[in-house]
């Protein structure tokens, strides 16, 4: 009995924090999603599904969703593909391997705010990159982030660069766990490089691939920091993403109910996507252990 008590008591500080600053706000915002809540006067008025109805006819929200989808579709495949290719390159004996590993990983451990500030400089009118590419493509003045056409793609390219290190590391772990015997067997069978990849490497790293794609999907749907630091949603709203929309409605206009509704809608979308990803990977993933061998 005393032991059980201690068992409840010891994690109490953590549990309390979890309840107070995590679970409670989470549930409270679910309540708010169905209400009109004025933060300043404290007035709370029930509006039922009105907030959600309004979201679907709000051109700013639709635009934010569209931008978010462009962001996810435009970064996810590239981040995954480049990370896999670079991981495979690093998985063989290369000179200065650790140097490359470290340099790929540095952007990931750097604060995203810092990365975003550096890229804001790089993308600005005065930078060598803009002078060089801007002249080549005859871009208007102002830099990449001030043109409606180039702002979102510029943020996406930065994001791929910044995120890739982490996924390289994950892929490397998976690649190093592929049993050497399988490669030897493939060699004996006379398989060429391409065949070896599809028959041995790919099935073995599939669980990790699933993990990476899911993680990256969720993270990409929640893109905010880059937008907040670099463009504040502009120009012409071309970089306003879903989470940025939530921020503006909630913390700038203080429409807490409306922002909560948008947040839960986004949560639903992410959950739906994760579910489909899970389904599409599951049939194979089930029979594979993370080590990559058939169970």
């Amino acid at each position: 009995m005393a032991k059980t008590k201690a068992g409840f008591l010891l994690p109490l500080p953590w549990t309390l924090t979890l309840l107070v600053i995590w679970i409670f706000p989470l549930l409270w915002s679910l309540v708010l999603a169905f209400a009109d809540y004025n933060l300043l006067s404290g007035e709370l008025k029930w509006v039922g599904l009105e907030n959600f109805k309004k979201l679907f006819s709000d051109p700013y929200f639709i635009r934010a969703l569209k931008n978010t989808f462009i962001f996810v579709i435009g970064t996810l495949p590239f981040t995954t593909l480049f990370a896999l290719l670079l991981a495979m390159a690093l998985n063989r004996p290369v000179r200065g391997k650790n140097f490359f590993k470290a340099s790929f990983f540095i952007p990931t451990i750097t604060s995203l705010v810092v990365v975003a500030l550096i890229f804001t400089q790089l993308y600005s009118e005065g930078s060598w990159l803009y002078r060089w590419l801007g002249q080549f493509f005859n871009l208007p003045s102002g830099g990449f982030l001030l043109s409606e056409k180039t702002a979102l793609p510029s943020i996406m390219i930065m994001d791929i660069w910044a995120a890739i290190g982490y996924y390289i590391l994950l892929f490397l772990v998976a690649l190093q766990n592929v049993p050497q015997e399988l490669y030897e067997a493939a060699k004996v069978e006379g398989a060429d490089g391409w065949q070896t990849f599809w028959a041995v490497t790919f099935p073995s790293i599939k669980p990790m691939l699933f993990f990476i794609v899911t993680l990256n999907t969720i993270k990409s749907f929640q893109v905010f920091t880059e937008v907040f630091v670099m463009t504040k949603g502009g120009p012409l709203g071309s970089t306003a993403t879903a989470v940025y929309f939530i921020y503006e409605e909630g913390l700038f206009r203080f429409k807490m109910g409306y922002a909560s509704a948008a947040a839960y809608l986004l949560f639903g979308i992410i959950a739906l996507f994760s579910y489909f990803l899970f389904k599409s990977f599951k049939s194979d993933a089930e029979v594979l252990t993370p080590a990559g061998t058939k169970a």
Binding site: L40, S41, E125, G142, G233, L236, R253
Partner: protein
């Protein structure tokens, strides 16, 4: 129990009781003098002045103790709102002029109408502090935007005086576009939320346009004057350097930009590190160049007492102290800010002896602020959207303003 034991027990009880009394005394000790003040002056040149003023206040009011908390413009508004929402606001607040309305409308600020009566003569610019005829804050340090010109570049474009009319400004922009390496005539803000409208409104007002109709019941943005203003502004932007305010200021300091609309912060930089080129400030240009039409945007920092403060008297004394002419002169002189709210302070020889400071005060007298309105954040968004759409040539000036007016009219009806 032995006598010895009783003695020890008694002694222990006495000690506990004493401790309890001490504790109670400590808790109920009337903290008459403790005030909390949230303020925004954080740069290393200005922050020590806040400390000095507070020390002076504490000396003048024996027993008073002011606890200063620094906020930044990036998240100050959020923090203040959350503090009000949690019922724990500070006693005294420094507020941006466009925030007063929402806090006052929710009855969070102390009504100081009567107290402020005697100060109305000395302090200028009360409009943002008023709601339904009542006063909720005191104007403290004001700010306005005006034109900064680089004389060397003006000469290069064949100008020997600063542009006064819109046509002259457009001509300057056109003349300088020819040069290589690239220099620019005019610098325009690109898609910076909550900044863009402050840049467009002077043009609107100068042309004789208004946001609302006279009775305040409909939107007047798409009047012929409004369309003229946006058309001119959007055309001007085509050849201009488009950048954020920080980058525009930087381009001006580097001598790559002949004209930029900026505020006292740029003048401070120019004074702290004089550039190689000659510079001057000037009133905003207008279509006809007449003095009355050279309007600009004004805002500023106001001081308010929270309605929930337990120290209303003392808080009011601090607010009064800070807005006193002598303290304003001291603060503004050392912070290199030319626009104190006190008229007496504005007339201080320090400001009158400097041509650029004088221009600031003159511009301030011709300036307006955005009209207080419960739906202002949405109205601001509609205006900025119209300006952006015209700047990026998505819509004609007329179309953009018609759409914005339709949106604002819908808000006014709701």
């Amino acid at each position: 129990m032995t006598l010895e034991g009783c003695k020890i027990l008694f002694e222990a009880m006495r000690k506990v009781a004493l401790l309890a009394i001490l504790l109670i005394a400590a808790c109920s000790k009337k903290e008459t003098g403790k005030l909390t003040w949230w303020q925004f002056w954080t740069d290393p040149q200005t922050r020590p002045l806040v400390t000095e003023l507070v020390a002076k206040f504490e000396k003048e009011n024996p027993g008073a103790k002011v606890e200063v908390t620094d906020l930044t413009w990036a998240d100050g508004h959020e923090k203040i709102t959350v503090a009000f929402s949690a019922g724990q606001p500070p006693d005294v607040l420094e507020l941006g002029s466009d925030w007063i309305y929402e806090y006052a409308a929710n009855k969070l600020l102390l009504d100081v109408t009567q107290k402020a009566e005697s100060l109305k003569k000395d302090l200028a610019f009360w409009q943002p502090a008023m709601l339904d005829g009542k006063t909720y804050a005191l104007p403290w340090i004001l700010g306005t935007r005006l034109m900064f010109y680089n004389f060397d570049l003006l000469n290069k474009a064949g100008f020997y005086d600063v542009p006064v009319t819109w046509d002259q400004l457009a001509k300057l922009n056109k003349e300088l576009a020819k040069f290589k390496p690239k220099i620019y005539g005019f610098g325009a803000n690109a898609s910076e939320r909550h900044r863009l409208y402050k840049k467009f409104l002077p043009f609107l007002w100068s042309a004789g346009g208004e946001i609302f109709s006279e009775d305040g019941k409909s939107c007047a943005l798409n009047s012929p004057e409004g369309v003229q203003a946006l058309k001119f502004y959007a055309d001007l932007c085509q050849r201009s350097l488009l950048a954020t305010q920080a980058n525009l200021d930087e381009a001006f300091l580097q001598g790559k930009l002949a004209a930029v609309i900026s505020g006292d912060w740029l003048l401070k930089k120019l004074k702290n590190a004089p550039p190689k080129f000659g510079y001057t400030t000037a009133l905003m240009p207008s279509p006809d160049g007449q003095l009355y039409s050279r309007t600009s945007f004004a805002g500023g920092e106001f001081l308010a007492v929270s309605a929930k403060s337990k120290q209303k008297e003392l808080a009011w004394r601090l607010v009064q102290f800070l807005t006193r002419p002598d303290n304003q002169v001291y603060f503004c002189r050392n912070a290199l800010i030319p626009t104190p709210a006190s008229v007496t302070a504005q007339a201080d020889p320090f400001f009158l002896s400097d041509a650029n400071y004088k221009t600031f005060i003159e511009q301030l007298q011709l300036a307006q602020s955005s009209p207080p309105h419960p739906h202002w954040v949405e109205i601001e968004q509609a205006i900025e959207e119209a300006v952006e759409q015209a700047m990026y040539k998505k819509k004609s000036a007329k179309q953009a303003l018609d759409d914005a007016a339709a949106k604002i009219n819908a808000l006014l009806r709701s």
